[in-house]
Symmetry: C2
Subunit: 494 residues, 2 copies
Amino acid sequence: MDSLPTEIFNPLELDSFVGESHAVLDFLSDYYKDVESYPVQSQVIPGYLKKGCSDYAPDSPEHLEFILDDVRKNIIPGLTHWQSPNFFGYFQANASTAGFLGEMLCTGLNVVGFNWISSPATTELEIVVMDWMGQMLKLPQAFLFSGNGGGVIHGSTCEAILCTLAAARDKALKDIGEDKITKLVVYGSDQTHSALQKAAKLVGISPSNFRPIATSSSADFALSPNDVRMTMEQDLANGLFPLFLCATIGTTATGAVDPLMGLGLVARDYGVWLHVDAAYAGSACICPEFRPYLDGVELCDSISMNPHKWFLTNMDCCCLWLKDTRSLIESLSTNPEFLKNKASESNDVVDFKDWQIALSRRFRSIKLWVVIRRYGVANLRNHVRKDVELAKHFEGLLATDCRFEVVVPRKFALVGFHLKSNPSIYNDDVSKLNRKLLEAVNASGRAFMTHAVVEGTYMLRCAIGTTMTEERHIEGLWKLIQEKADLLALPNDD
Amino acid sequence: MDSLPTEIFNPLELDSFVGESHAVLDFLSDYYKDVESYPVQSQVIPGYLKKGCSDYAPDSPEHLEFILDDVRKNIIPGLTHWQSPNFFGYFQANASTAGFLGEMLCTGLNVVGFNWISSPATTELEIVVMDWMGQMLKLPQAFLFSGNGGGVIHGSTCEAILCTLAAARDKALKDIGEDKITKLVVYGSDQTHSALQKAAKLVGISPSNFRPIATSSSADFALSPNDVRMTMEQDLANGLFPLFLCATIGTTATGAVDPLMGLGLVARDYGVWLHVDAAYAGSACICPEFRPYLDGVELCDSISMNPHKWFLTNMDCCCLWLKDTRSLIESLSTNPEFLKNKASESNDVVDFKDWQIALSRRFRSIKLWVVIRRYGVANLRNHVRKDVELAKHFEGLLATDCRFEVVVPRKFALVGFHLKSNPSIYNDDVSKLNRKLLEAVNASGRAFMTHAVVEGTYMLRCAIGTTMTEERHIEGLWKLIQEKADLLALPNDD
């Protein structure tokens, strides 16, 4: 073997592995310490990074310090800081020490658990953890491996919905014939996450067969079972086949909750697959006081929630449970020769490749397992409760200033509010006014929120729940909002 | 705020973050040091883990040392060790220090870059890195952002194919009408990865419209452009619409290479989307001596490769480039109110949510960027070359023992071989014999390989290329194989 390069290149040399990892840990520790001082929303302009970057990959290795310096100087300013305690946009993405440790184990071990045999512990730990999570949510036994169902960890809700939709589709087409794919209809509300519409289109459901059923403030933006029923009746009358209904526990715009009991009865009557998207508020349902929002889940076919939002589990981690795992497996299974093995053929094992889109999969269950064990259920419940208390506190502050109002009753830790219309103070129409308010808050760099529009009403969304948010950050946010509202009222404001 | 829990729970307290992370690093460093001594293939039996696990999540927090001890005792024995230098199964999944550092940054910063505004640096760095990678592969300018195309990082090839298929499908259906979805046909070879068939089914292509065109040893298992042409002609004659063709650079079974130039001309003639799956061998194509395998890519529509295989990038990372990014975006875009922002409306920015299945996305580009910079292109090329040299060395060893033969000519670092049929030594038929050989090798725990069957011939696959594999591991593997072959020849063997 004369031709081996003479220079030794050892990308897993242990001293550098530990030493360089320590440097990155110090970097991250400094980042968490300083993140509060950074502008929450990045202030860069499009194309900013390209200018500071080489057009070509370097031929020679660079020192880590040099790379980290570049992260500090060029990457950090381009980040909107999701871990800032002053981040109140979208929904939070909780980072935590345990989530980080779990991800380190996943990344370091770097095993690929597509089927049982390729690394049995990855599959078996996922089974254990998914049953743990299911029990924490008090899911009916039928959703657990210890019942006749089961769960799997995906990367995102969109994947989870896509896979359940494919399972529902293939189950239906087996009965009515493959050429009927153009007749299948998918139902949600006008508050359902765009993931449903995207997944439906991806699995070949015509966009014209997607039904975003209208909701209203009078019903707190919950989907009406009766409206679903009427829509399905109409579709049936038009020769279409109702296939799939998605209910949401904690919608993106307002945190609304769809009534699972009522929707479950409709789904049963029409033989449609009922999925529950609890991406955001699922985490809250580990607390007894929030669990009633899941009542009726026993009538549903599948449910998903994202520990990477509010459950201290760093990205990515989405839990999906199903009763009818066989339909999922039938739809998603492949059996190429190179993966054939005795364990799979024995049917004694779970091969998670047949529960998801991709073949390859990361050892995400060890991350969730470390989070649950390192923190314990009691702390995880308190984590949710703390954020809900902070949201109540924020509501209380809003109530002290008559210029503001809460737009939608709060259920979890998301508060939707706006400046009320008041021609004696503001020239702008109420939507423009609130858009300006949000822009002013975000441009300050001191906090970051996002918006929603419901029934034509523009509102600011204050999604409370980053890992490091404390009462003082809520107070600071409120001060900032009032300050910017004052400025908007200046007479020379256009 | 009287109701806040009195006990302080701080999941990002900096001393524990650093201290506990150090403990995990020490754990992983020990793991890498010891991994060679573990049985490569896990020896556990189905259900082994459940016995050692609590049925319920713990209510109270547990110490990290206790959790790591559990990993040591209960998880490690259940792993098949993909990072063992004696792992030669499937295709390798390279871990490296730089890959780990990059993943730590991704996980620690924990930003969600679904659109430009949600964290501009994540998008802009992905643009830079995808152009770097594209240039390393000498992709035509039309695939780069600096041309009129672009690239995106997905988690897996299956996702990449699913998205390009959806783009091709929607582009076609716009012309021929949505109800023609049942007429669309997808083409690959009988060597194409099962990801294609799965993705086709997922996007609603009937399994009966999937064409795995036969290949043969006489053509080194490459897909024949002429056979594709004939199959398409037949489909057209039957009123079907050829939609999508997938070519592979480095097939899973044998490392075969489909001829892009010839297939590109066919694709052009029939107006089908031609995707190149270079998941495995794409990494090799950064070396000038392997780049000719990509000749003809200029005639293709999209190409994907997995840095998480052979490019020192810990799971997960799949690069996808396209010329016609507009079709992809049209197929995958959503525009919910809560994501509307001035930057997106200006069309000056890339919103990667419209280039993939999910909305949420991790900061994977920083991982690939750290790998490229920390190692440099020259080392990355040498990393590939070292493994190819080791594969040649292994071939040389096989040639010294007339009981063995290489089944398919080697192109990269995958060697397919078997014991030849020899009734004077073995009672078993050749397939059974080689199955026994593989089982004996894997049961020893000293090495791990997997198998393939081509043209009815069972062969062992020796995929060389874990990060820590050196010449001595190849020598050890060869000794082990010979030893087990000797035992199979015992007269009393059944």
